[in-house]
């Protein structure tokens, strides 16, 4: 090939490379680092199992949360909302604290959860010495509806003088809000906030990826009420 031909080829290759970069789209990440979030229960029909998938629909956002004025919940719940909002890229989840519990989608209370005989589904969490948490879900027997409100309980197990109590209450609140937004299972990895006995204070990248995926997965449980 002549020098002129080589020069033309180089210009053509450069032009094609520039055009290729100019026309290409952003490359989406591979999302494969997540855990099972669906709650698996014996099927309502009695045969096999149901995998219950829930997320707050767009038309119910922002989720309304009523918060008891106790145990720093009025500080910890807004911080938990912020932590979970940051898991999402496209505004999939949002929540606000409301003053009227009768219209709330989620109720956050301080103290021990009531006896198990009063709830259909309870997700226990954070069995640390300092505090514990629980989220109660009232799913209808046919497994198609979630009766609102969802109830979160944050229970201190040690005295106020315990130096680890405040951080335990904060991370347990964020963990329980993770259940309330739709992560109805625990991660098996202790580095995740949604591990059954969480130690990290913020949602991990795996927690965030799980939340992001569940908010684009077609749910089979819809909220009803209040």
């Amino acid at each position: 090939m002549s020098a002129v031909g080589r020069t033309r080829s180089r210009w053509l290759a450069t032009a094609l490379a520039v055009a290729g970069v100019g026309c290409s789209d952003i490359a989406t990440p591979i999302r494969n680092d997540f855990y099972e979030w669906r709650y698996i229960v014996p099927a309502g029909s009695g045969v096999g199992f149901d995998s219950l998938a829930f997320r707050w629909p767009k038309d119910r956002l922002p989720v309304r949360i009523w918060v008891e004025d106790s145990l720093d919940l009025r500080t910890n719940v807004p911080a938990a909302i912020t932590a979970w909002r940051q898991a999402f890229l496209y505004g999939e989840f949002d929540a606000v604290v409301v003053s009227d519990s009768s219209t709330a989608d989620v109720i956050a209370r301080a103290g021990a959860a009531p006896g198990i005989q009063f709830v259909r589904t309870r997700l226990h969490s954070a069995l640390a010495p300092e505090c514990a948490g629980a989220t109660d879900l009232d799913v209808t027997p046919d497994h198609q509806q979630l009766r609102l409100p969802v109830r979160m309980y944050i229970d201190p197990r040690s005295g106020q003088s315990d130096p680890n109590l405040a951080s335990c209450l904060a991370l347990t609140t964020t963990h329980e809000l993770g259940h309330a937004l739709g992560i109805w299972r625990h991660s098996a990895d202790p580095t995740d906030l949604m591990f059954s006995n969480p130690e990290v204070t913020e949602p991990s990248e795996r927690d965030m990826e799980t939340a992001q995926i569940l908010y684009h997965f077609t749910p089979n449980v819809e909220p009803v009420g209040p």
Partner: protein, 200 residues
């Protein structure tokens, strides 16, 4: 680029009378349309796009050469809502402002029509540091071109209609942090109307 911009601004600001006499100023209002900023796929396609936004453009040019060419600086500010879209509906993501600054060259097509081409930057200014802008709005390199129509309406004042196009590659620190690679090609088309003050 930055040095040339600063030099032009400094020259104009210095108040050199001969330069001021040759300076053309313009101000326009209009709207800008933008295509998708982000395209993602999680079970379905998700896009993020800014709505058609009102835009303000301010600029000044100085003559370069004898054939009617002028070099100038133009800044724009647009402010509008932006939203994510997925099958099943849109989600309002708040307000997104964009500011651009371009150093450009313009020349005549005819007595009433002129072309402009420029290089510069675009800065994204979201109302909230959330979602794709969690780690802040980026500054990106920008290229643009436009066709301007001018018609005298008053002594020394022209009505100016401008149809402009610009292009940049969009990404944010948060998108990179989430594993997005490369960037999204973003085209913007703006139509603006305003006044231009001719040189003395």
């Amino acid at each position: 680029m930055l040095k040339a911009t600063l030099l032009l601004v400094a020259l104009l600001a210095a108040g050199e009378p001969r330069l001021q006499a040759q300076t053309e100023y313009h101000a326009r209002l209009g709207a800008v349309w933008t295509n998708d900023l982000v395209r993602d796929f999680i079970f379905d396609e998700i896009t993020v796009r800014q709505s058609i936004a009102p835009m303000l453009a301010l600029g000044a040019t100085l003559p370069v050469g004898p054939r009617g060419y002028r070099a100038g600086l133009e800044g724009t500010l647009a402010s509008g809502k932006f939203h994510s879209r997925e099958e099943g509906g849109d989600i309002d993501l708040g307000t997104l402002r964009t500011a651009t600054l371009q150093l450009g060259l313009e020349g005549p097509f005819s007595s009433a029509l002129r072309w402009r081409a420029g290089l510069g930057g675009i800065k994204y200014l979201p109302s909230d540091d959330e979602g794709v802008f969690l780690e802040g709005g980026p500054i990106r390199f920008l290229v643009g071109a436009s066709v301007d129509y001018r018609r005298a309406v008053m002594p020394r004042w022209d009505l100016m209609l401008s149809l402009g196009y610009d292009y940049h590659r969009f990404s944010t620190d948060e998108l990179k942090h989430r594993g997005f690679s490369q960037s999204q090609g973003v085209s913007r088309v703006a139509f603006t109307v305003g006044l231009s003050r001719r040189p003395q």
